[in-house]
Symmetry: C3
């Protein structure tokens, strides 16, 4: 599943269902207690895996966890064959994170398993974009006439790509504010966004969405953190240029003092914790929608 595979009515249905779950945060629903879900994380991500696992358990699913360390899974076996094995074991839904940009497209006709994309290469992270949109809608209600500025390490960011496509679907204006040294040419992306500096973008933004600097993907290139914050990050000084109703978002994990000044994480404008809790409800909505079509 990629954002482009979703229609606007489908997204609206997910937003509504996720919001219903958010209204009762402590409630366990357990109505999917005959469904087996496999969490297949070929890249480590305890955070995202836990978010899915909580969503699955609140719905009553049975959960199988696989993470990259247990590398035997694919020893001498193709991933499509692994998926066929899981299908035979009774797995109905597989949540997959994998470094390959397009793995899920090659898998989708191999079995009856429904896939949820939990991060694919630098290409898509659709559940993050959906929970981000949910957070924006909770704040502004109406999605018309909004401007979202996505600031930071776009180059390797699947979060940015998924968000651009989804925000675009709802007619939300998207600014991209890239550090010079991480500038990327991406024709598909470029025609959907306006490129600005963070200082240009701030006064007109309803949402400032910061991205984590993915140092681990920059092959050993040393980052001057203080310099990065000063030039491209969100500082208290910079935030003064924002509108009264502007909110701060970040997909986490956060590098405090790099893409954002540490104190701003807990600022009244920050919706970073809200994004995390919304993640569980949006993932519950996605799983429930998929299970409803089985």
């Amino acid at each position: 599943m990629a954002i482009k595979d979703l229609t606007q009515p489908q997204v609206e249905r997910l937003l509504k269902k996720a919001q219903d779950y958010a209204v009762n945060p402590a409630k366990f629903y357990q109505h999917l207690n005959h469904i087996i879900v496999a969490n297949l994380f070929f890249e480590d991500s305890t955070r995202t895996r836990f978010s899915f696992e909580v969503a699955e358990k609140k719905l009553g699913c049975h959960v199988l966890n696989f993470s990259a360390e247990n590398s035997s899974m694919n020893k001498g076996e193709t991933i499509p064959d692994t998926i066929k094995t899981l299908e035979q074991l009774g797995v109905k839904i597989a949540v997959i994170r994998h470094p390959d940009d397009h793995l899920l497209e090659t898998l989708k006709n191999e079995s009856s398993i429904s896939f949820i994309n939990a991060g694919a290469g630098k290409y898509e992270h659709p559940t993050q974009a959906l929970l981000d949109l949910m957070t924006i809608k909770q704040e502004f209600g109406d999605l018309k006439n909004l401007t979202v500025s996505i600031c930071g390490d776009i180059k390797y960011s699947r979060v940015a790509r998924s968000n651009v496509h989804l925000l675009n679907m709802f007619g939300i204006k998207v600014n991209i504010c890239e550090p010079e040294e991480l500038r990327v040419k991406d024709a598909t992306l470029d025609k959907l966004v306006t490129k600005k500096t963070i200082d240009e973008a701030l006064p007109e933004s309803d949402v400032i969405m910061l991205l984590r600097v993915q140092s681990e993907r920059h092959d050993g290139q040393e980052l001057n953190k203080a310099e990065y914050l000063k030039q491209y990050g969100l500082t208290a000084a910079r935030l003064k240029k924002a509108k009264a109703k502007t909110i701060i978002m970040h997909p986490a994990p956060i590098n405090r003092g790099v893409e954002i000044e540490s104190d701003l994480v807990e600022h009244a404008k920050s919706r970073i914790l809200k994004q995390m809790s919304n993640g569980v409800y949006m993932r519950m909505a996605i799983i429930d929608e998929i299970a409803g079509t089985m």
Copy 2:
């Protein structure tokens, strides 16, 4: 538990119970919801562990997972002492995979825990043999007058050893077709089987059971895959010599293009996927039988 510890009536009971589970593949039974099962995999095998975990969860057991990476378990402690710890924690059944051929024999009198052998060295993999027999019975009904040819890397194969003993118990003729370079002297095995080439065996076989070439156990010796397939593997050309009712089996994971030509995995004669789903039902039957004696 090894195959030789089972009587024919016990096996027949397991076959019947497993088939009852197979009739309702989506059903969760949950009647063992007071039983704690520990899956102790001292060798990685996500596939087999998942098969057991699904079986356990369909029966309602509580599942504790241990895999070799978490190597602290035995730091300065003998395995029998680990088992006594698990007994005190309330574990009733332990599913064990271990490289040692005879570990389970040394453990069985150390505690009240019931053990299920999920693969021991090159010696036994009894649950695989039982699910294989279930698959054969589903196909032919009557087990009399059948011939099964086990082809490939017998040398390191616990699957082969367990199957030879179990097929023998039911009076099924067993051919062994070994590659010359992987030939093994095993007196116990040799007196129970007929040695043939795959070309000699094919015309008389009701079942062609292929084994995975366990390259990881051949200490760096490079395998010429195309040559192996041509000489010892199942090819479309070779399959023409088989009888109309002959079926293809393989315990998986499969090396496509090595022991079997890739397209044959999905051939109408293939029961490879069936074996995987039967694995869950047979493991449910085994766990349920053991729990019934507690």
Copy 3:
């Protein structure tokens, strides 16, 4: 939570509740089935993690497991930020083992999550001390006028530290019997205990509590096991000096033949297995008490 944060009435309440659970060892209670517990083991300890996991599952909690291998959890993120993430995911209780002596103190005001200390550096292992006291109380009923001698590798032992504080709270006399080469200066500890050799301590002890030699913390220094046993360990010969009612305890895992002669582990005086089963009940009591205050 450290022992010093507990009052005597609180400990008595835990002892009573744990004993109630111990009376029905096979019973699953399941009354906490709306609670999500995260087991966060930054140091490997399958044994302690399993003890908590069984306790959590018997109470019906939903369990998220994290162990140090999945090191991505804190990639570029502080532990307090990780905890805030877990809080947003709905985690109510976190069981933490971490090499840092004082991590939990820095975390306790960061979120609404309740923490259970499953081992902190060399500083505290309070649930072990509580299950040890439960075992002593089962044996002697009245805790007055008892003498406990803790023998062995005190230097790196959080078990020893937690026990000294808890035994002290109940007016139990504590002897410390340290090997000369592992002698440690710890002013807080020293004023609560009497230092003796194991031979001096044995005749007056109601409980001989042996500690595991933590070879992995002695930076490659080779231990002469036979010599250690002879000088500082519990041998059959030495045990003859003990009183008729004296019991042997050990937090496990055991190095047989080092701190204790192998046969004595199964001696009639040994309560080592009892300690393990009590561990589950005490952890159930602790979790249940915490959940009751939410």
